[in-house]
C-alpha cells in the first residue's frame, strides 16, 4: 500500500493526536526561542558594546528571561483612569496572537512516513499560505494602533499613528516583493515554495547547467531584489531599529506601550520577539530554502532563523533610527517602484523561459 496523506477523514484519532502534538511542540519551541531571544539580544549587544550583558542570574545570566518574566508577572497591573478599558486590555492580545499563529503555516521539515501515512512537518498547509502570513502581519498592527489610541496618552497616540503610517508604506512593497516569489513557484503554499527551492539550480534554469549539482534553487539566487526588499520591510514590520518608530524610546518614551505595565507589557515584549522569529522563519522559508540544508529538517530551519535574528540584533546595535517621513519616502518612492519593476522583470523572464 502506498502511503497516503494523513487527514481527518482517514484516521480522525491519529490526526487529532498528531495535530495536538505538533502544535504543542511548535508553540513550546517558539516560546522558548522568544524567551531566550531576549537573553541573546542583551548578550550580543552587550558584547558588541564592550559590556558583558546579564551575568548575575544563573550561569552567564542564563536565568535572566525567567527572572524578567517573574518580575513582570508580579508587578502591579495599572490601567490608566482615562484609558478605554476594553480596548486597552484587548490590544496586547491582538498583537501577540497573530504573531503566534503565523507559525502554523511554516513547514519545518520534510514529510514523515509513519505507519502508511504521510505526515507533513507543518501544522497546516494552507493553499493561501503567503496571504495568511500577510493578513496576520496586518492584523498585528491593529493591536499597536489600538494600544496607542486606547491609552489616551499623547505619546502613545503619536506612536499608534506612526505605526499606521508605517504599515501602509512598507506592506505594499513587502507584498509585491513576495509576488515575484510565487510567480516562480506558481503556488501560495509555503510547502510548495520550499519544494521548488529544493531542486538543484542547474536543473531549474537550463542555461545555468555548468553549476555544480549541490547548489539549490533557493529564491535568494533568483530573486535577490525581492529578498532584500522583504528583509527591510520585515524589519519595519516587527518595529525594530532602524524602523522602531512606534516605540522610539528617545522620542516618544516607548510610544504605544508607554502606559502599559506588568503582564500586558510583557505581552508586547513577547510579541516583538515572536514577530522577529516569525519574520525570520518566513524569510528563510521563502528565500533560503526553508528546512532544506545539510542537517535534519528543523535543525536547518532553526540555524537559518538564528542567523537572521543575529542579523536583526546586529542592526539594532549599529544603526540610528530613521525619521518617519523618511520611512514613508523609502516605502513609497523607492521600495514600491523597485518591487513593481522586479515583478515585471520576473514576469518577462518567466514568459521568455517557457
Amino acid at each position: 500500500m502506498d502511503p497516503v496523506l494523513l487527514s481527518f477523514s482517514n484516521d480522525p484519532l491519529l490526526f487529532s493526536g498528531v495535530m495536538v502534538l505538533k502544535i504543542i511542540v511548535t508553540f513550546s519551541v517558539l516560546m522558548g526561542i522568544v524567551a531566550y531571544a531576549t537573553w541573546v539580544e542583551r548578550k550580543v549587544i552587550g558584547h558588541m558594546q564592550t559590556r558583558l550583558g546579564p551575568m548575575e542570574t544563573g550561569w552567564h545570566g542564563l536565568l535572566q528571561p525567567i527572572a524578567d518574566g517573574l518580575k513582570l508577572f508580579f508587578k502591579e497591573d495599572i490601567i490608566p483612569a482615562e484609558a478605554s478599558k476594553v480596548s486597552f486590555v484587548l490590544a496586547p492580545v491582538m498583537i501577540l496572537v497573530p504573531a503566534l499563529i503565523t507559525i502554523a503555516v511554516v513547514p519545518f521539515g520534510p514529510d514523515l512516513v509513519i505507519g502508511g501515512y504521510i505526515i507533513p512537518q507543518q501544522i497546516t498547509d494552507l493553499n493561501i499560505g503567503i496571504l495568511f502570513v500577510l493578513a496576520m502581519a496586518g492584523l498585528g498592527i491593529y493591536g499597536i494602533v489600538l494600544a496607542g489610541w486606547s491609552s489616551n496618552s499623547k505619546y502613545s497616540l503619536l506612536g499608534g499613528i506612526r505605526s499606521t503610517a508605517q504599515v501602509i508604506s512598507y506592506e505594499l512593497a513587502a507584498g509585491l516583493s513576495l509576488v515575484a516569489v510565487f510567480m516562480l513557484g506558481e503556488s501560495l503554499s509555503l510547502r510548495d515554495i520550499v519544494a521548488v527551492q529544493i531542486q538543484p539550480l542547474n536543473q531549474v534554469a537550463g542555461f545555468l547547467g555548468f553549476l555544480p549539482e549541490w547548489i539549490p534553487n533557493w529564491h535568494i539566487f533568483s530573486q535577490p531584489v525581492a529578498f532584500v526588499l522583504f528583509v527591510i520591510c520585515g524589519m519595519a514590520e516587527i518595529n525594530r531599529t532602524p524602523f522602531d518608530l512606534p516605540e522610539a524610546e528617545t522620542e516618544l518614551v516607548s510610544g504605544f506601550c508607554t502606559e502599559y505595565s506588568s503582564m500586558k507589557y510583557a505581552m508586547f515584549f513577547m510579541a516583538e520577539y515572536a514577530n522577529m522569529v516569525i519574520i525570520s522563519a518566513i524569510a528563510v522559508t521563502l528565500f533560503l530554502g526553508g528546512w532544506h540544508g545539510p542537517f535534519a529538517g528543523s535543525v536547518n530551519l532553526l540555524i537559518k532563523i538564528f542567523g537572521f535574528m543575529f542579523f536583526f540584533i546586529w542592526i539594532r546595535a549599529t544603526w540610528p533610527r530613521v525619521r518617519y517621513d523618511q520611512l514613508m519616502f523609502l516605502g513609497w518612492k523607492v521600495f514600491l517602484p523597485l518591487a513593481l519593476a522586479n515583478v515585471m522583470l520576473t514576469g518577462l523572464v518567466v514568459v521568455l523561459l517557457q
Binding site: I45, M48, Q49, T50, R51, K154, Y155, L158, I161, R162, T241, P242, D244, A248, E249, T250, E251, L252, V253, R316, A317, T318, W319, P320, R321, V322, R323, Y324, D325, Q326
Partner: protein, 392 residues
C-alpha cells in the same frame, strides 16, 4: 483633543531626551511642530546669589555644579575672572597656566564625549553611547587622580592650582591624548558615512550666520554656522596664544555640520593637550601673591607671616578693590562668562554668569518650528545644553 487640530505635548521635564530637566511645550499639528516653548528653572539653585555670601574661594566648588559635564572649564572661567579683578593675571606661573590649558582641553573632550554619546543615543545609535562613555571614564580616572573627584573637581585656585599634578599622571594623559584620535575615527566610522545618520542630521535644525549672531550663539554651534569666532584665539587667556591649533568652522549650519565641527574640535583638543604636555616644566603652581594664595604648609608652621596670611585668607578671604570685570572663556559649549562686581569687601557684590547653554537654548524654537517631532530630539542634542548651567 479630538476637536482641536493642534495637540499640545508636554515634553519633559521627565523625558529621556531632554538632557536633564528641560521642559518643552510643543504644539503639534500631527507630528509637525508648530510652536516650541522651552521652560527652564527646574534645577535652579541660586548659585549667583549664594556667591554673594561667600568668599571668592568658597565659590569655586559651586562652579563645579554649573556645567557638570565640564567642571574644570567652569573653575577656570571663574578663577580667571577673580584674577582679573585682583589684577594678578600676569603673575600666574607658567606651570599653572600650562596645566590649566591641558585640563581645560581634557574637559572639552569630556564634555564633547557626553554630547556625542547622548546625541547619537537620541537619534537611535546606541553603541556609540557606550563607546563614548568608555573614553569618558578614562578622563574621569585622570580627573580623580588629579583632583580627587570624578566630576566635582574643584581643582583650580585663584592664583594657580590647588595642588601639583600627581606623579605619573602625565603619562596617563599622554597615552589618552595619543589614543583618542583613533577612537574619534571609530565614532566617525559608525556615524559619519551612515546614510540614516546623514538623513537625520543634514539639513535639520539649520541656523544661518546672521540668525546665530542675533541669538548670541557661541561655541561650536556658532562656528558651524560659518562664523569664525573662538575666544581661545581671538581673546586668548592662560597662554592659549602659544598653542598651535585650528579653529574649526563649517558653513552649513545644520546638525551634521555641528556634529562634524565638534568631532574635529576634539582632534584639535588632542593636539593642544600634546603640546601642553611637551611644554610642561617643573615650577611653582601658585602665584607669588601672599594676600591671595594660601602659603605652603611649611611657611605656615615656620614663619609668622605665613601663619597670619593663612589665618586671614581662611577666616576672612581676600578683598579685591572695588570695581567690575568680565571674563569670558571658550568653554566646550560656548562662551562661558563671569561678570564680577566688587565693593571692596571679601564677598562679591554681584556675580553674573553667562552660561553658553542658556543663550544657545534660545535657538531651539527657531530650529525646530516647522520640522518634525523627531527633529526636536536631534536639535536638543546638537545644541549640547546642560540644565545645570541653564538654571544655575
Amino acid at each position: 483633543m479630538a476637536h482641536n487640530e493642534i495637540m499640545t505635548v508636554n515634553m519633559g521635564p521627565q523625558h529621556p531626551s531632554t538632557h536633564g530637566v528641560l521642559q518643552l511645550i510643543l504644539e503639534l499639528d500631527g507630528e509637525t511642530v508648530v510652536k516650541a516653548t522651552p521652560h527652564i528653572g527646574f534645577l535652579h539653585r541660586g548659585v549667583e546669589k549664594l556667591s554673594e555670601h561667600r568668599t571668592y574661594h568658597q565659590t569655586i566648588p559651586l562652579t563645579d555644579r554649573l556645567d557638570y559635564l565640564a567642571p574644570m572649564s567652569n573653575n577656570l572661567g571663574y578663577v580667571l575672572a577673580v584674577e582679573k579683578l585682583l589684577d594678578i593675571t600676569d603673575k600666574i606661573p607658567a606651570r599653572a597656566n600650562t596645566v590649566r590649558v591641558m585640563l581645560a582641553e581634557l574637559t572639552r573632550l569630556k564634555s564633547h564625549l557626553v554630547w556625542l554619546a547622548t546625541h547619537a543615543l537620541d537619534i537611535g545609535a546606541m553603541t556609540v553611547f557606550i563607546y563614548c562613555f568608555r573614553e569618558r571614564e578614562a578622563i574621569m580616572d585622570i580627573y580623580e587622580k588629579i583632583s580627587g573627584a570624578r566630576m566635582t573637581s574643584n581643582y583650580f585656585r585663584v592664583g594657580g592650582l590647588s595642588a601639583d599634578l600627581p606623579a605619573g599622571i602625565t603619562d596617563d594623559i599622554r597615552a589618552f591624548a595619543v589614543a583618542m584620535p583613533d577612537h574619534i575615527e571609530m565614532y566617525e566610522g559608525l556615524l559619519t558615512g551612515n546614510k540614516i545618520w546623514q538623513k537625520r542630521t543634514m539639513g535639520v535644525g539649520c541656523i544661518d550666520a546672521a540668525a546665530a549672531i542675533d541669538i548670541g550663539l557661541t561655541g561650536p554651534a556658532l562656528r558651524s554656522s560659518g562664523v569664525d569666532w573662538d575666544l581661545r584665539r581671538d581673546n586668548p587667556y592662560s597662554g592659549y596664544e602659544d598653542y598651535d591649533f585650528e579653529v574649526i568652522t563649517r558653513a552649513e549650519g545644520d546638525t551634521f555640520a555641528r556634529y562634524k565641527a565638534r568631532l574635529d574640535e576634539m582632534r584639535e583638543s588632542c593636539k593642544i593637550i600634546n603640546q601642553a604636555l611637551d611644554k610642561l616644566a617643573p615650577g611653582p603652581i601658585l602665584a607669588d601673591c601672599p594676600k591671595v594664595c594660601l602659603p605652603p604648609k611649611k611657611d605656615v608652621v615656620n614663619s609668622i607671616e605665613g601663619l597670619i596670611h593663612q589665618f586671614k585668607i581662611i577666616t576672612e578671604g581676600f578683598k579685591p578693590e572695588a570695581g567690575e570685570v568680565y571674563q569670558g572663556i571658550e568653554a566646550p559649549k560656548g562662551e562661558l562668562g563671569f561678570y564680577l562686581v566688587s565693593d571692596g569687601s571679601a564677598q562679591p557684590y554681584r556675580m553674573k554668569i553667562r552660561p553658553p547653554s542658556f543663550v544657545n537654548l534660545q535657538a531651539l524654537p527657531q530650529m525646530v518650528e516647522g520640522s518634525l517631532l523627531a527633529d526636536v530630539i536631534a536639535a536638543i542634542g546638537t545644541l549640547d545644553i546642560v540644565l545645570g548651567e541653564i538654571d544655575r
